[in-house]
């Protein structure tokens, strides 16, 4: 059934269809409506979950860790400073191998105090052992929420669904709400293997002191699970396509076949960039687009297969690692670095703190990349005021 809903409610519908059992969250703009709607669903019985009100995001994640440790399907959502406050426990969730799902609505970190979109909050958590998926439209937000639980439980790692503040969170557009039957087919109840959860019939200790003799193997296994997450996502996406006809993969290419310049982007900038690529193609320019849906695990092979064939690569980052550059650009450079004769990578930063990324912004990026030699500076700023 199709409904006109905002991105935040697309998450709420997804979490309901996923039959989440414990939801713990603390409100923060622009995430608030996700948990408002979920709390209503819990109170009127549409979702049979325990909704736990907490005093901070740190507690929200702690609560999800407890619930997931006991075998429950746990969910939370946050943004920006809220995510930053969770940082310590994000490591805990992944290292304890807990399949928690969290939505992070991208919002800039203050000061200057800013409620608008920017990817630095989620990308700053890239080393915490969470799978990260970035969404382009509200349909993808809902579908990704369901697939996130599936992947999380298959590899026993937490998954973060990420999307832009306001450009999706508060934007209404048609979304096909899957049937409960389809959702259940993709996502059966969480399987609880003996010894992997806290069971009063089978008492064990968890997360205890781990000396150097054992610790490294635990990290090796975590990394191996992270790599499996890509295959599990592919499997889940394949099944979801059979059920709904909608197609998702770790990356997506748009008109890259004979492209000489390929733009790499994530989130809503991808959607606007599709319009720009069509318009430039209409003028005979050989441009293409690579959408990064999955950021962790980083889909090295898929990215290299597309980009090695092109002449120039432009990367649009709505984020910054100070003293280094755009975070997607840094990763793309690393992915290409061992490919002989690889194309140069141009790093662009635009749209920080919610500044609009218009078709003009993206056209300027294509123009500069086509016209100029490789810049010495890893960052070219777009749309800076003089």
């Amino acid at each position: 059934m199709k409904k006109v809903i905002m991105g935040n409610h697309a998450v709420s519908y997804g979490v309901r269809l996923a039959r989440a059992e414990v939801i713990a969250a603390y409100p923060i703009t622009p995430q608030t409506q996700i948990v408002e709607e979920l709390s209503e669903m819990c109170s009127d019985g549409r979702l049979k979950a325990k909704f736990v009100k907490v005093e901070s995001e740190h507690s929200a994640m702690a609560c999800c860790i407890g619930a997931a440790s006991a075998g429950a399907r746990a969910f939370t959502a946050t943004s920006s400073q809220g995510l930053a406050l969770m940082h310590e426990l994000l490591h805990w969730a992944s290292a304890a191998r807990l399949p928690i799902v969290m939505t992070n609505v991208n919002r800039a970190l203050g000061p200057g105090w800013n409620i608008w979109t920017e990817q630095t909050d989620s990308l700053a958590q890239r080393d915490t052992g969470w799978v990260q998926l970035y969404c382009e439209d509200n349909q993808e937000v809902l579908d990704s929420t369901l697939m996130a639980f599936r992947v999380a439980e298959a590899v026993r790692l937490p998954v973060m669904i990420v999307y832009d503040a306001f450009f999706l969170s508060h934007t209404y557009e048609p979304v096909d709400i899957p049937s409960q039957e389809d959702a259940d087919a993709l996502l059966p109840p969480r399987k609880l293997e003996k010894g992997t959860f806290m069971d009063i019939e089978d008492p064990r200790t968890f997360s205890n002191m781990t000396p150097p003799d054992y610790f490294m193997e635990m990290r090796f296994k975590l990394e191996r699970a992270m790599r499996r997450a890509k295959d599990e996502f592919g499997r889940a996406a394949g099944e979801w396509k059979k059920l709904t006809g909608r197609d998702y993969a770790a990356i997506e290419t748009y008109r890259c076949g004979d492209a000489e310049t390929v733009l790499v982007a994530a989130s809503t900038a991808v959607s606007t960039a599709r319009v720009v690529v069509d318009s430039l193609r209409g003028k005979g320019r050989k441009v293409g687009l690579l959408k990064m849906r999955m950021f962790r695990p980083f889909p090295y092979r898929e990215v290299v297969d597309v980009l090695r064939r092109t002449r120039k690569v432009a990367v649009l980052d709505r984020n910054i690692s100070f003293g280094s550059g755009g975070i997607f650009a840094t990763e793309i450079k690393a992915a290409l670095s061992n490919v002989p004769g690889h194309p140069p990578v141009y790093g662009y930063i635009a749209g920080l703190g919610g500044r609009d990324i218009t078709p003009g912004t993206i056209e300027e990026i294509f123009d500069r990349t086509d016209r100029n030699g490789v810049p010495d500076d890893p960052i070219t700023w777009i749309g800076l005021k003089p």
Binding site: V4, I115, A165, F167, H170, Y172, S271, D356, I357, P359
Partner: protein, 183 residues
Amino acid sequence: MIEIRFHGVGGQGAVIASKILAVAAFMEGKYPQSFPAFGLERRGAPVMAFSRIDDKKILLRTGIYEPDIVVVLDPALVNSVDVTQGLKKDGKLLISSPLPPSGYARLGPFRTATVDAQTIAADCGLGTSTSPIVNTAILGALARFAECVKIESVIKAIRDEVPCQPDQNVRAAERAYREVRTA
């Protein structure tokens, strides 16, 4: 693709108007996209909301800077906000006002219409007489003036989306549809 900007005062329902419009357009098989001005909304402060309507999926995810249609939910806003900023030369301007469209000729050579949505909403018992909720009335007028959606779709969308006083809201939309004045 049609792009629409709503100007209102926090509490009049401009954001909900853009949502109801999206639902109405969707009922006609069109693809809508509606969003509020990205920022902090406060009761009594000027607010904006936006809608795009197209026959195919809308991929643009940016602000609207050159709308085809501007809808003003409060006559006082005309004096405090540049409501016609970026409005296309042949654009349409709908103002909630007791004045005839000729009263707004100074705003530019736009195709202008007016409707007294404040009085209509107050008569229908929507909000209070001093702060009527005018969003459903203005949508009725918009359906007649701009023809971007049919009045039947607006009424259906109001019944689906408005949680209280559905009959009064429908009556307001129907009356505004009849009473809108064009130049």
